[in-house]
Chain length 286, copies 4
């Protein structure tokens, strides 16, 4: 690290937790998800539907995102929904579908876990466990995934400070699991024209303070399908180690988050554009 | 309800969930916590330490708040802490201490539950289960306390809109448990001179939209011991059905939240002042 | 001031500007608006229409609020409006109407000034100059009203911290004008069910840090006519030195802010209720 | 414009003001600042010191940013400062220095105007007038620069919604001046590790809704010198038409904003990096 005082994030104003801190471990942590490495030179794209809705929807979308260049498949089986009357996910049935399409495509799978009692079940199917925004400070859950031997994708709470985000990751590392990816996915502000305000400054800040890889979710970060490409490009330029994006083979028919999901051709076009930006900054997208 | 169109909260702009809505049930819900009723004419004060730290600390504080007029005892056995290195609570040992002092003082006990796996254990000791701010959108936990037959104190998430808060309560009612108290405890804003921004407008808004009782937590809402009395008075004047406040027999020695805890004499003085305001608005504090 | 360390606003974390600081001047500043004193035992109510719309509207409303107990009349002649296509106020014609009704009713008048070039004109008619939220950091305007010998009502910017608010007041005092009243009128947060989030904790905070009187505007603070009474009561209980409220003789016909304006009978009822709370806290409303 | 319904910013939820709206004028507006065009294929970099401090500081910095590729020079002569005790700028003396270095370097000059009474003076020296964040809703000032025949750089208020930002621009266009550039410079949120939260999603949103050019200020947007390059790159990738950045020949000696100002070699390196990203998205930086 440099000695120039201007290089200290003087406005951060908090103690960086020990295990996540770059002061403790200066070199980048590489997280390995069933063979796919996040945190190195390659920028890794995770794509797939918000929720697993059906065999056809999942399989068609999974094949398409693989063809487009995604390296990891996302898809929710247990869904945190603001209303109890909304679709809550297919549960274990969804996990089984993810398992089947993983075998076919070879794409590792990331899916959300919401309940300490589900960690064992979900980790039996998934290659990476996602802890969602609403659970970023669900400490028993953080401890439970920390005791698990699967990589964890930890999403920033929509009103979590950088300090709180790092402390949440520290809970996981403190249980012995250092395979953690941080994900900026938009914070809540006064602005309502977008679903959230995607805080891209979190990427250089987190990478400066911590050795953990950082990815960006422009789908939840904007809530607007047409805006996802612009913010995905910005996320690559700002230094993110990866992207997680919602893609659906028929977004207009999606049960959830259809208005922020790319369709297949939009995803393909975006991947082409992202590769150029990755090259311009000395990285690559496979 | 009035027919004057100005009485509609026109700026709310969302659908009120069915079970919590006043449109479904116009009369006030009275929540009964082991004989203490919240939601009627009486304004109920819940007081006690942030965390159960020791037998002496809990017992001395409990006796004092009972003497000062508190009707329910609060105290955390399982503590959600931002850092994994902070005191995490005494666990079941804390629950047992709460049980003993309840028998002695006759004060019903409210304590937090953080994990679906703890609900059975905690509900074996507590008279009311608290779901904390960080778990307001922990849906498996909401469902679990919804299946329990104990009253639930649901605290507003620091980033939760009124709509999301009501939807979280709906999760509990939807499982068959209608004994829910809503608690405003401060939201996160840009202002940093207070720990949170206590949103007292949430009280009339929630009471207009829902039949559930609404209480206020001026301790977490301000984070400042000297400011708690002023905000507690305002909460009574604005129409809250109760208050939950942190009191400690020696705040300067508290393991957590000492700088927002009242000492015994401050609590006694505040209770005297609150009774006058309650009378001025046609209510009472016992 | 007490010596108890708990009485220091430890979370404030900034230097209080010299001239507004209680450390410099421990006793309360009393602001005298043409004979009406703000900052003493009496809680002063300022009421009137958002904008001066017509002779009849202003005069009828002014007579009614005087009858109801208001001590100062408000009414905008120059209006800051988000859109250039909205009514911008009657200008000098409005000031003249305010002058006439002041003579008739004896109520001092407060009205907004938005432009350095208008200060001389407006101060020729008004008893107190209002600097609105959008101009809280309009430094040339602050300096200009600071050189004027009229009291100033400074409204908190909707994005202003307590520190910035005090610094804005310091600009006025630094020009030699110490007759400044601070007004909390709601801050902007993520919550959208109310127009703004009325930050009542600002009242005890400002009164602790500064010797200047502090009043509250529950009309802009909520944007909801039905909610104004509840928040006005809370403002009195929390320790405000006064209230400024929008009242209109026919709110449903108001050109601006009709949905947050009380009608005459609502105002009368509220004044009755407020007097009881004032007595309960050892103050009075005339 | 496309007819695909997904291309409508459905979450915007407000009426786009007429004169700034793309519905009224689908083609891009090109703003011409003394020969430099903003809004076309070229991405224009505006650079220079926060404040004009001295002849040497200004001239050395101006020559360096010109050499590095800046097309327009920035520098404040009238400074809006939170505290009355901070440096308020050199005033007309600063304007004269800007005039001299403009002649030498050929760089057009943008500088802030804060007071309606200064518009004539400042427009006598500047090639573009800046309306700062604190004055975004200073309507008399917006009208005054709208009557002026100089281009206007309008910065987003730190708590202004997209709707309010467009309405502020509408005030200027409504006076007959269509040469307006919008500037995203960070909004105020709960996050404190950065000075503001740079809302890059504002760029695609504003460009979708309006025909006006949009630029980004990563200096104020982050407040952190080391973070400016990352966010500048992201701003180019997201589609901004330009950047405005603070550069100082000796940042550590700057009277204001030194900790967010790039030094000369940092600026030169950044320009090299930005050119690559511009090419990757089909644009260019001269």
């Amino acid at each position: 690290m440099e000695t120039n005082p201007c290089n200290n994030p003087v406005n951060a104003g908090f103690k960086i937790p020990d295990r996540v801190s770059r002061n403790t471990k200066p070199e980048e942590t590489i997280v390995n998800i069933a063979g796919v490495e996040v945190g190195g030179t390659e920028i890794v794209v995770i794509a797939g539907p918000c929720a697993v809705e059906s065999r056809e929807q999942l399989f068609e979308t999974a094949r398409a995102v693989k063809s487009g260049g995604a390296r990891i498949l996302r898809g929710g089986a247990f869904k945190p929904r603001s209303s109890p009357y909304n679709f809550q996910g297919l549960g274990e049935e969804g996990l089984k579908l993810l398992d089947i399409i993983r075998s076919e495509t070879g794409l590792p799978v990331v899916t959300e876990v919401m309940d300490t009692r589900q960690v064992e079940l979900v980790s039996g199917y998934a290659d990476m466990l996602q802890v969602g925004s609403r659970n970023m400070q669900n400490y028993p859950l953080l401890k439970e995934v920390g005791m698990c031997r699967k990589p964890v994708l930890l999403k920033r709470g929509m009103m979590a400070t950088i300090e709180e985000f790092l402390l949440a990751a520290e809970y996981i590392l403190n249980q012995g699991n250092e395979q953690v990816i941080l994900c900026e996915r938009g914070i809540r502000t006064f602005e309502t024209s977008t679903r959230n305000t995607l805080d891209l400054s979190a990427v250089p800040m987190l990478k400066r303070l911590s050795h953990l890889p950082v990815i960006v979710d422009p789908s939840h970060g904007t809530g607007l399908r047409w805006m996802v490409p612009a913010m995905a490009k910005a996320a690559v330029a700002v230094g993110a180690d990866g992207l997680i994006m919602e893609v659906h083979y028929h977004p207009e028919e999606a049960i959830c988050d259809g208005n922020q999901s790319l369709n297949i051709s939009e995803f393909d076009q975006l991947m082409t554009d992202l590769k150029k930006i990755a090259l311009a900054i000395g990285r690559e997208i496979s």
